[in-house]
Amino acid sequence: MAELLRFRADEPADHPGITVDAFLDQPDADAVRIEPGDDARALIPHLARLRLVEVNFPIFGDGRGYSSARILREAGYGGELRAVGDVLVDQIAALRRCGFDGFDPDQPLDPADTEIAFARWSAVYQPAADGRAPIWAARHGETA
C-alpha cells in the first residue's frame, strides 16, 4: 500500500472501512467504505459516530464519489474523507475541493507532482466543499 496522504491533525483510524450494509448493522462501527453505487445520504443519520469514510474509485473515470463526498460535507460530516482506489494525481485537486482530506491511492503519487497539483489553482470559479471563496465573491468583496 502506498503512503497515506492526509490533511488532518487527528490520528487516522487504525482500521479500514466496512461496507455500508455492514456499517448500518453494526452500531459501534466508526469507519465505512462507500462504493460508487452507494447512496451517501444513507449515512447522514449516523455521522456523529463516523470518523472515517473511505470513498472507493474502482476506475478514475467514475465520478460518483465526487458527489458522495460533497453530500457528506454538506450534511456536516467532519471526520476523515479518504479517496481510495484508482486515484490519480490529476484528480486530487478536484477531489480536495469536494471535501476529501485523505488520499490512499492504489498507485503511489509522485510527491513532486502532488505538490504541484495542490498548489496549481490560485482561484476557483465556484463554491464547493472546501470553503474556498469563489472568484465572484472576490470580485464583489463578499465572502462565500
Partner: protein, 542 residues
C-alpha cells in the same frame, strides 16, 4: 463582448501550464495513453485518423476580430492553413502535433481563448443563438447567462468525471436558432411580468438514440439559475448510467426514470442546494451583462440599393433583421458550392476579421450551421461588405437553402466514421447549383453525418443523410422530416440505403416530390408533414 479580468486570465494561463506538464509526462512515458486520454480530452485534443485534432472553444459562438486573427495564425502556424467551424460553434484543427499543442494553447490564452472542456465527459462549451444581442425577437441577450454558466462549469470539481459529455444551450427567444431542445440541457430565458427566468428543457440529444428534451421547469427565477443547473447535474452525476457508454447520456436517465421522476429528484436536490448559497450574486450577472451591452453607434436607416440582382439575392438570403434601426445582421456562407462545409482558410479568417471591424463593431459569430455571422452591420454599407466577400469565395447567397449543408468531418478525418460526408455534401450542392433549383426549393435544411453519432445533426435535417457501413462499403440512409428549430422533430428513415451516387439522386427525387405536391407557401418540411412519408417512398423505391 465579455472581457477577461485578471482572474479569468489566470485560470486559462494555469490551464495551459497544467496541460504543458501533462503533455510532458506523456511524452516522457510517465503517463500511459489510457491515463493521458481523459486529460487531453479535457483540453479538446483527440487522436484521429491522421494526426491529433484540436477543438477550440468559442463560448456561445461569439468572438472578436482579434480572436479571429489569432485563429488564422494558428491555422498557419500549427495546421495546414485552414480550420473547420463546427456545429457546436467551435473550431477544429485537424493536423496538430502533440509536442506543439501546449504552445498552441498558450497562443490562444493570449487572446482570451482556450480549449477547456471542449471534449471529454464534462460540461462542454455552451452554445447559444448566433444572433444573440442583435435579434429583434429576444427577451434579453442570452449570452450573459451563458457566460455565468461558463464560469460555473469551468473546472467544476464535482462534475469532472460525468457519465458522459454534457452540452448546454442558452437562448432567449421563441424562435430557436440553437437546436436548444436537442441538448442535454436547453435553457430558454423568458419573461414573466417584470421578472426574467429560465425555462429548463432536459434530456435532449442526438447520437444513436435521438431525443427531444421535455420541459422540466417552466420558470426558474433568474437568481437561481446556477443552483438549478447544479441540481440537474448532481442528479445526473449520481444516477446516470455508467455500465454502458451508449446509454450514459442524460437523455437515457430522463427517459428511463421518466421526466416526472427526474424532475422530482432535481427539485429535491435544488431545495437542498438553495440552502448552501452557491449562486453568484446579482452584481456578478450585472457585471457580465454590462460587457455585452456596449452601445452601437447610431446608424442612419438607409435601405441598401438593390438594383444589382446578385446583391439583392444575397441580401434576401444571407441577412437577418436587427433590433436597432440602421443595422442588419449578415451571414457569411462557408458553403461555396463544391467546398468543404465549415472550412475557412487562414486568409478568409483574416478577411472576415477585417470586414467585421470595417462594417460592424468587430464582432463575429459562429453558427451551428457552420457559417459566420457579422451581427451588427451598418445597413447603408451592406453592399460594400458583400462586394468584399465575393472575390474571397465567401459570397455564396445560399443560407438555409439546399446548398447550406451541415456535414461532419466523416471518413476523411474521423476515426469513428462509416462513410464520407464531405464529398456527398459537395456532390449535392453541385447538383442543385447546376440544375438551378436551389431558389425554387427555398428553405431546405440538409444535414449529413458520417456515422450514427450524429455530429452532423442528420436527425434534425428537413432532409438528413446518415453514413452507414454496409458489408464493408459506404452506404447512405435518407431521413425526412427532422427539424431543430422551435418546431423540433426527428427525421424518419425512408427505407433501404443508397450508394454515393444513389444518395445524390435520392435527394433530388425527394425534392421533386415536394415541388409537385407543395401548397402555396409551404416549405419542404411543411409538405412532408402534411402528406407524410408514402409519396416520397413511392418515388424513391417505386
Amino acid at each position: 463582448m465579455y472581457r477577461y479580468d485578471d482572474y479569468d486570465q489566470a485560470m486559462v494561463d494555469t490551464r495551459v501550464a497544467e496541460f504543458r506538464d501533462q503533455a510532458r509526462r506523456r511524452l516522457e512515458g510517465r503517463l500511459s495513453e489510457d491515463q493521458f486520454k481523459p486529460l487531453r480530452l479535457m483540453n479538446g485534443l483527440y487522436l484521429q485518423l491522421h494526426a491529433y485534432m484540436l477543438r477550440v472553444a468559442i463560448p456561445y459562438g461569439t468572438l472578436d476580430a482579434r480572436q479571429m486573427r489569432a485563429l488564422a495564425d494558428i491555422a498557419d502556424n500549427y495546421d495546414r492553413g485552414y480550420g473547420h467551424f463546427t456545429t457546436r460553434q467551435n473550431i477544429q484543427y485537424n493536423w496538430i502535433k502533440l509536442e506543439e499543442a501546449a504552445n498552441l494553447l498558450a497562443d490562444l490564452a493570449k487572446v482570451e481563448m482556450h480549449a477547456i472542456q471542449t471534449s471529454g465527459n464534462c460540461i462542454r462549451n455552451i452554445s447559444s443563438d448566433h444572433f444573440a444581442g442583435a435579434a429583434a425577437d429576444e427577451v434579453a441577450d442570452p449570452r450573459p447567462y451563458a457566460e455565468l454558466l461558463r464560469q460555473w462549469s469551468s473546472f467544476h470539481p464535482e462534475f469532472s468525471a460525468l457519465p458522459r459529455k454534457f452540452k448546454i444551450a442558452v437562448i432567449a427567444s421563441e424562435r430557436d436558432r440553437a437546436a436548444m431542445r436537442l441538448h442535454d440541457i436547453g435553457i430558454r430565458i423568458v419573461r414573466r411580468g417584470d421578472a426574467l427566468g429560465a425555462q429548463f428543457w432536459v434530456g435532449g440529444g442526438m447520437g444513436r438514440t435521438p431525443m427531444v428534451a421535455p420541459c422540466i421547469r417552466e420558470f426558474v427565477p433568474i437568481d437561481q439559475l446556477v443552483t438549478y443547473s447544479e441540481a440537474c447535474l448532481r442528479v445526473y452525476n449520481r444516477h446516470g448510467r455508467r455500465d454502458n457508454k451508449f446509454k450514459a447520456r442524460i437523455k437515457i436517465l430522463v427517459h428511463e426514470l421518466g421526466a416526472a421522476e427526474y424532475t422530482r429528484q432535481v427539485e429535491e436536490e435544488f431545495a437542498h442546494l438553495l440552502t448552501l448559497g452557491i449562486e453568484p450574486p446579482a452584481a456578478e450577472l450585472a457585471r457580465i451583462a454590462a460587457m455585452f451591452d456596449e452601445p452601437l453607434e447610431p446608424a442612419e436607416s438607409a435601405a441598401p440599393d438593390r438594383s444589382d440582382p446578385d446583391f439583392a439575392l444575397w441580401m434576401d438570403r444571407n441577412t437577418h433583421p436587427h433590433k436597432l434601426p440602421g443595422y442588419i445582421s449578415a451571414v457569411i456562407s462557408l458553403k461555396p458550392v463544391g467546398g468543404i462545409p465549415g472550412d475557412a482558410t487562414a486568409d478568409q479568417m483574416r478577411l472576415m476579421a477585417d470586414l467585421a471591424e470595417r462594417y460592424g463593431n468587430g464582432e463575429l459569430r459562429v453558427t451551428h450551421t457552420q457559417n459566420i455571422v457579422l451581427p451588427h452591420v451598418r445597413q447603408a454599407e451592406l453592399h460594400g461588405l458583400w462586394s468584399a466577400l465575393e472575390p474571397a469565395g465567401l459570397g455564396a447567397a445560399n443560407i438555409d437553402t439546399v446548398e447550406d449543408i451541415i456535414a461532419c468531418p466523416g471518413l476523411d478525418y474521423c476515426s469513428l466514421a462509416n462513410a464520407r460526408s464531405i464529398p456527398v455534401a459537395q456532390r449535392i450542392a453541385e447538383r442543385f447549383a447546376a440544375n438551378g433549383r436551389t431558389a425554387v426549393l427555398g428553405e431546405l435544411k440538409l444535414k449529413i453525418s458520417g456515422c450514427i453519432n450524429a455530429c452532423g445533426h442528420h436527425h434534425a435535417g428537413h432532409i438528413g443523410i446518415l453514413g452507414v457501413d454496409r458489408k464493408g462499403t459506404e452506404n447512405y440512409q435518407l431521413l425526412l422530416g427532422g427539424s431543430e428549430a422551435e418546431d423540433v422533430s426527428l427525421g424518419k428513415i425512408t427505407g433501404p440505403g443508397f450508394d454515393e451516387t444513389g444518395i445524390v439522386d435520392a435527394v433530388e427525387t425527394a425534392t421533386k416530390v415536394y415541388l409537385k405536391e407543395r401548397d402555396e407557401g409551404e416549405r419542404f418540411l411543411d409538405t412532408y408533414r402534411r402528406i407524410g412519408m408514402e409519396p416520397f417512398k413511392a418515388a424513391l423505391y417505386g
